[in-house]
C-alpha cells in the first residue's frame, strides 16, 4: 500500500456518533440540573404536613426529551444548516438569502388570509372549535400577524434602515391616532375607539416612553461618560416626590414643577457626584447603589413629609398649559370646552404626547451636547480619564455635569410619572427599576439613542405584551399566568442579545465631527469606561 494513513486521521466521528455522545452529555447535565427541581416537589397533605412528592417520570421525560432534541440537532439539524448554508460561518448570523427564502409573497398572502379569516371569526371561535382549539387558533393568528408585519418590514428594509429615526418619530407621533381609529373601526363607534385605546396608549405607549426617557437619561451617565450608576432610580424618585409634594401641598402647576423637579434631581445628582468623584468601576457602582437605597429609605422613614410607605395620593393632574383641564368637575374640562363626548382617553392621549415631547427633548439635548465640547469630554472621559487631565479637561466638573444632566432627565421623568399615576409610593423606586433601566441601556448599545429606544420597546413592550396572551390559559390550563414568566423571558432575551451582539443592538458609535465623511466607529474600539 502506497498510502499509509495514520490511524488518528481515520477516526473522524460521524454525525451520529458525535450526536450520541453530545446527547449523553446533555442528558447528564439536565439530570443534574433538574433532579431536585423536577424530580422532587414539596407539597402539603390533607393534615397540612409538608411531604415530598416524587416525580421521577416527569424528570425522565424531560431528560429523554433533551437527549432526543440534542441528538436530532447534532445528527440532522447541524448538517442540514451547513448544507443549506443558512448560518454564515464567519459571523454566525443569518445571511440575506435565508431571509429572502423565509419571507415570500405566497407566504405573506397566506398569513394575511389566515389573519383575515380568524379575525372575522373572532367572536364565534369558541363555539366553532371549543375553548382548547380556539386558543391555538388565536395563537396562530398572533403568529400570522407577526409574520405579516415582519414581511412588510423586511420588504422595506433598506428604506427603513435609511430613514429609521424619521420613521420612528412619525410612527410614535401617529400611534394614538392609529390606535383610536383602528379600535373605532373595530368597535363601530368613536367612543368605543377611545375607550379601547386606554390600554394601548397607557400600558404600552406611555409606559414604554417613560422607560425610553429614563434610559436616555441614564445613557448620558453610563453610555457617554462611562460612569456606572446603579442608583439612577433615586433621581426618578426625587423628581416624582418633588412634584407630588409641591403639587399637593402648594397646588403649584405641573408646568412650574417640571423644571423644578428637574433642577432638584440635578442638584441631587451633583450631591451624589461629589463623594464618588474618585471612585471607579465596581466601587462607584456600589456607592451609587447605596445612594439609591438611601433615598428610598429616607422616603419610607420620613413619615411627616413623605407619608412613608403609604405614599402620596391625590397628585394633581397635568393641565393643558392651563387652558383646559382634565378634571371632569372643572369648568374648563376639555370635553366642555371643545364640546365633545366625555372620555378618560383624552388625558391619556395628552400624557402620551407630553412624554413623547419630553423624550424628544432628551434626545435633542443629548445629540446637541454630544457635538459640544462637554459631550466630547464625557466620551473622552469614558475612553481615558488620565489623557483627559493631560489635555487640561477639568474631570471633576465634567463628571458632575454628566451626573447632573442625567439626573435632570430622571427628575423630569419622575415628575411626569407622578402626574400620570396620581399616586407615588416608595414601592415604585426599588433597585429592580434601576437594574431594568441599566439593562435597557446596555442591551440597546451604550451611547446609541436608537438602539436604546428599540431595547426599551422590546423589553417593556414585550413584558407588557405577555400580559395580553390570555389565550395561553386555554392552552396550558387556567392556572397558567404568562406574566409570571416575563422576567424569565427578560433574562433569556438579555442572554441571547449579549451572546449575539455583545455591544447591544447598536454597537457602533456615531462620530460627532468629520472631515470628509461620517463613518460609524465599530464597537470594538470604544471603551465602556472604568467608572
Amino acid at each position: 500500500m502506497a498510502v499509509t494513513a495514520s490511524p488518528e486521521r481515520d477516526i473522524v466521528a460521524t454525525p451520529v456518533q458525535r450526536a450520541t455522545r453530545e446527547a449523553l452529555y446533555a442528558g447528564a447535565i439536565v439530570l443534574g440540573l433538574f433532579v431536585l427541581f423536577i424530580g422532587l416537589k414539596t407539597d402539603q397533605n390533607i393534615s397540612n404536613e409538608l411531604i415530598l412528592v416524587q416525580r421521577w417520570w416527569l424528570l425522565f421525560a424531560v431528560v429523554v426529551l433533551t437527549m432526543v432534541g440534542r441528538f436530532v440537532y447534532i445528527a440532522h439539524g447541524q448538517p442540514f444548516l451547513a448544507k443549506q448554508k443558512i448560518a454564515d460561518i464567519a459571523t454566525g448570523l443569518l445571511p440575506d438569502t435565508v431571509a429572502t427564502r423565509f419571507f415570500r409573497l405566497p407566504y405573506f398572502i397566506a398569513a394575511i388570509a389566515i389573519v383575515a379569516v380568524l379575525a372575522l371569526l373572532a367572536g364565534s371561535l369558541d363555539a366553532l372549535l371549543g375553548p382548547g382549539l380556539a386558543g391555538y387558533a388565536r395563537f396562530a393568528r398572533a403568529l400570522a400577524i407577526i409574520y405579516a408585519l415582519a414581511s412588510v418590514l423586511f420588504y422595506f428594509r433598506s428604506f427603513i434602515h435609511a430613514h429609521f429615526s424619521a420613521l420612528g418619530i412619525a410612527a410614535l407621533a401617529t400611534y394614538p391616532v392609529i390606535v383610536v381609529l383602528v379600535l373605532a373601526l373595530y368597535s363601530g363607534s368613536m367612543a368605543g375607539g377611545f375607550q379601547g385605546s386606554l390600554k394601548w396608549i397607557d400600558n404600552f405607549g406611555i409606559q414604554i416612553l417613560i422607560y425610553v426617557m429614563l434610559a436616555w437619561g441614564l445613557n448620558i451617565v453610563v453610555g457617554l461618560a462611562g460612569l456606572l450608576d446603579l442608583g439612577y432610580v433615586a433621581f426618578y424618585a426625587v423628581g416624582a416626590y418633588a412634584y407630588a409634594l409641591l403639587g399637593t401641598q402648594y397646588g403649584l402647576s405641573f408646568w412650574i414643577l417640571l423644571p423644578a423637579a428637574g433642577a432638584m434631581a440635578a442638584f441631587w445628582g451633583v450631591m451624589l457626584g461629589f463623594p464618588v468623584l474618585r471612585l471607579r468601576g465596581d466601587y462607584l457602582a456600589i456607592v451609587t447603589l447605596a445612594f439609591g437605597e438611601i433615598i428610598r429609605l429616607v422616603i419610607i422613614n420620613w413619615r411627616e413629609v413623605t407619608n412613608g410607605s403609604a405614599g402620596i395620593s391625590g397628585i394633581p393632574k397635568v393641565s393643558f398649559f392651563g387652558l383646559m383641564s382634565f378634571n371632569v368637575s372643572d369648568p374648563n374640562y376639555i370635553a366642555k370646552v371643545l364640546d365633545i363626548a366625555q372620555s378618560g382617553a383624552y388625558y391619556k392621549i395628552f400624557l402620551y404626547y407630553l412624554i413623547l415631547g419630553l423624550c424628544l427633548l432628551t434626545a435633542f439635548v443629548t445629540i446637541r451636547l454630544r457635538r459640544m465640547p462637554v459631550g466630547r469630554a464625557w466620551e473622552a472621559l469614558r475612553e481615558d480619564e488620565i489623557a483627559c487631565r493631560s489635555l487640561g479637561i477639568n474631570t471633576t466638573t465634567t463628571k458632575l455635569t454628566a451626573f447632573a444632566t442625567g439626573a435632570m432627565f430622571g427628575g423630569f421623568a419622575g415628575s411626569f410619572f407622578a402626574a400620570r399615576q396620581g399616586f407615588v409610593s416608595p414601592e415604585s423606586f426599588i433597585f429592580l427599576e434601576s437594574a431594568i433601566i441599566l439593562a435597557i441601556v446596555v442591551l440597546g448599545g451604550m451611547g446609541s439613542l436608537v438602539g436604546i429606544a428599540v431595547a426599551a420597546m422590546v423589553m417593556i413592550g414585550g413584558t407588557e405584551a405577555l400580559r395580553e396572551l390570555d389565550f395561553l390559559k386555554q392552552v396550558f390550563g387556567p392556572d397558567f399566568t404568562p406574566e409570571l414568566y416575563r422576567m424569565l423571558l427578560f433574562g433569556m432575551a438579555m442572554v441571547i442579545v449579549m451572546v449575539w451582539k455583545p455591544r447591544g443592538f447598536v454597537g457602533s458609535r456615531e462620530p460627532t465631527a468629520f472631515l470628509k465623511e461620517r463613518r460609524a466607529v465599530s464597537g470594538s474600539f470604544t471603551k465602556e469606561g472604568h467608572g
Partner: protein, 389 residues
Amino acid sequence: MSDASPSMNEAILQVEHLSMKFGGLVAIGDLSFQARRGEITALIGPNGAGKTTVFNCITGFYKPSEGMLTLNRRDGSSYLLERLPNHEIPARAKVARTFQNIRLFSGMTLLENLLVAQHNKLMKASGYTVLGLFGFSGYRTASAESIDLARHWLEKANLVDRADDPAGDLPYGAQRRLEIARAMCTGPELLCLDEPAAGLNPKESMALNELLMDIKDNTGTSILLIEHDMAVVMQISDHVVVLEYGRKISDGSPQAVRTDPRVIAAYLGVEDEEVETVLTEVGDEDVIEQLDTGPDSAHGPGTSSSYLAGPVTDTVGHSEGERVTVSRGASKAGQVDARSSAAAKPASPTKAKPKAKPAGAKSSAAKPTTKAATKSKTPGVTNRRGGRK
C-alpha cells in the same frame, strides 16, 4: 560651572531641588535642571531612573515631596507647577504631555481626538455649553476654527487621510504621531514627550524626528523628551540631562554627555577592569571639564539628600528619619565617582578615605587604588579638580 546659567526668561522650565518620595523609596532626589526656551531638552537614563516620575511631577500627576518647578510663559507670567491642580497645568501653564503607553481616545476618530484637546477654548466659545446649546454663531465659528487647527496638525502628522477613522485603528507609529498632534492642539509652550520613539521602526523614527524639528522651528514650542533611542536623542536634542536612580549624573550638550564616563558607566555598567580604562580615558581634558559640571562627592554641598551625598552606600537621610538604601553600590555612576576619588587617595587621603571604603563593596578598596596609583594621570585629575574649586 561650565554652563553659563541662562537668564530667567531664557529658561522655560526650571526644576529646582525636586524630590519625590514614595513611602521610603526615593524616586527623585534633589534634582535641578533647566529647559531653555525654543530648545529640545532630552531627559535620559537607564530604566527606573525616575524620568517618568519627573514628567509626572511636571505635569501635575504627582505632587512632588520637595522642590520647586517654575514655568515661565512667553508673555512673562510664570507658574509654580507644583501648586497648580493637575488639569490647570495644560490649561493655564500651557504644558502638554504624551504618555509612554499611548493614551488615545481609541473609540473616537482622529479628528475628535484633536477636538477634545481644544476643550477649554471651545468651552469658552460655547459659553460653557449654554450658548452653544441654543446655536449661537460664536460657537459655530469657533468650532470651524478648531476643525481647521485639527486639520493643520493632522497634515503635519501626515494623518489627514485617516481623519475619520477611529484612533484605535491606527498603526503604532501613527498613534504616536497622533498623540503628539493632540498635545499640540492644546497650544502648549512646553511639550513633554515620554519616549516618543519607543517601538518605532527607523523610518517611523525619522518621520517623528522631522515632526519634532518642525514643531521646534515653526511653533516656538519648547520640547522636553524622555528617550531611550540615542539616535533620536543625539540627532535632535540641544541639551541632555542624564538621570540615574533619581539623581542627575550629567547635564550638557549631547556630545558632552555622550563622552561622560558616568553616563557610560550608568548605561553600560562597569567591571573592575573596565574602571581602569574608563578612568584612563577620563584623563583627557574634555571629560575632566564634564566631570566638573556638578557638585562632586568630595567638595559638593554634601550632607543632605543631595545626589552624590553618599555614592558609596547610596543611603539617603529620609525626612521621617528612617534610612533608605537603594541596593548597595547599585549606582554605576556612583561607582565611577567613588573610584575616581579612591584613585585620588594619594593626593588627598583624609578626604577620600571614608568614601572609598564602602566602594570596595564590589571588590577590595585597595585594588583600584594601588592600580590607579601606578597610573600617573589620575592623581592629576583630582588635583586639578581640587584646585579649581
